[in-house]
Symmetry: D2
């Protein structure tokens, strides 16, 4: 299991007139979470893309438990439970400064060759970094 946490602060433009973060904007938070989780492994998603590997999201499940509010300092914890093969799954938990759980999500991505568009298996550069966490 590999787990990593990062923090973000809610922007005004991410709220809606209900006074909370708009439900669609959590996707940006999940993105920041997994990008920083990958960076902590010593890779960057940017480099993967420069090498011709795309990682589109194929499935998203979100549970909105408590609303996130403007200026909240959120902790986004992204966990990879299973060594990825054809898919990589991030389990995300978002908490506020009071350690209340606001949101939980499961984000499933695949890997695609940027040139052919074909789905590929998890690149070895990622597997090598992840394997020590799954032994």
């Amino acid at each position: 299991m590999y787990s990593q946490s990062t923090q973000i602060r809610v922007r005004y433009g991410e709220t809606d007139q209900m006074g909370f973060v708009y439900y669609g904007n959590y996707a940006l938070y999940y993105e920041v979470g997994r990008v920083e989780a990958i960076r902590s492994l010593g890779l960057t998603y940017k480099d993967l893309e420069d090498q011709g590997i795309l990682m589109p999201v194929v499935r998203l499940e979100s549970k909105y438990i408590q609303p996130a509010k403007y200026d909240d300092l959120l902790t986004i914890t992204s966990t990879i439970d299973t060594l990825p093969d054809r898919f990589i799954i991030f389990d995300v938990v978002i908490t506020n400064e009071f350690e209340q759980i606001l949101n939980k999500a499961k984000v499933t991505l695949c890997f695609r060759d940027a040139h052919s568009g074909n789905q590929i298996r998890t690149p070895s550069s990622i597997l090598q970094k992840l394997k020590p966490y799954f032994s």
Copy 2:
């Protein structure tokens, strides 16, 4: 069962550098779909909110099947399969001009009293409009 379709055109600002609609922006499309579905019933979500009823999203499940592209004219079909009680569930299917299914989602919302913040049952104004479709 109540079902309604509406069309939207993909905006440039909704794409990302992969060349497709960003996965978080589908939430806006689901919103347009359910808002227009409610309008077709002869109600508006705006009026509900003016009457002190909020409809926050509590759960979202999305499957990204084929990518939506810039300038695509999408059809968003929103279906209510079950007469709502404590929750209202919209099943959404997004297709392009070639009738390819791009995305499927299930969006679950609840109803809240804007003043107390308490969850309430489906307002009778909505139930009255929906009942003819479930007899």
Copy 3:
């Protein structure tokens, strides 16, 4: 002078907790306005891009006069006052259903060759369509 109007409805996700459209989201409305203005000429921005012509925004000036609200049906009027050469300028006026002016903007874009990245003059395909309006 070439002028064209199009309508959009304000989405919930475009509002912020002040209860109005977030100031950054007007950029999406200007985009819809100019894209539809180009489509009305018999061209599409998508086709231009497929032909290797990019149109990045180089300058934006916005005046926020009255706030746009959720579910407002806005009219976006985009006007080209001067036949474009190295730059194309859209003057935008956004009004609501009561014909109140909510927002005015001036959006300046240039043309770039997608492959070289170099700035180019206005493509002849656009000039040919615009010239009848400037004689």
Copy 4:
């Protein structure tokens, strides 16, 4: 003169298919810049709003000089040149890690009483914090 810098990293969802940050998303960066500038003064915009003071943007001028790219670590420098009275003006400069200037903006905001909606002068809590920088 009061000046403050903060850093943000470009999110994937903020890019568009041109491969750069979408022109409308800079507004979020300006917002983060001014919110952190206010926080550095020992105030928060959130507290101002909780006290019934809104700060809507009334005017925006942006120059897009070089494109910001995905994963860029941007420095947003927000400067108040003039002690605010009926308006507060932030001059914003955005640079990348190579100290290239990507974007310059001037954002003008006013102050409004949340209850009456009326425009008010700069609150004394802000003026007190700013005055030492303008003597």
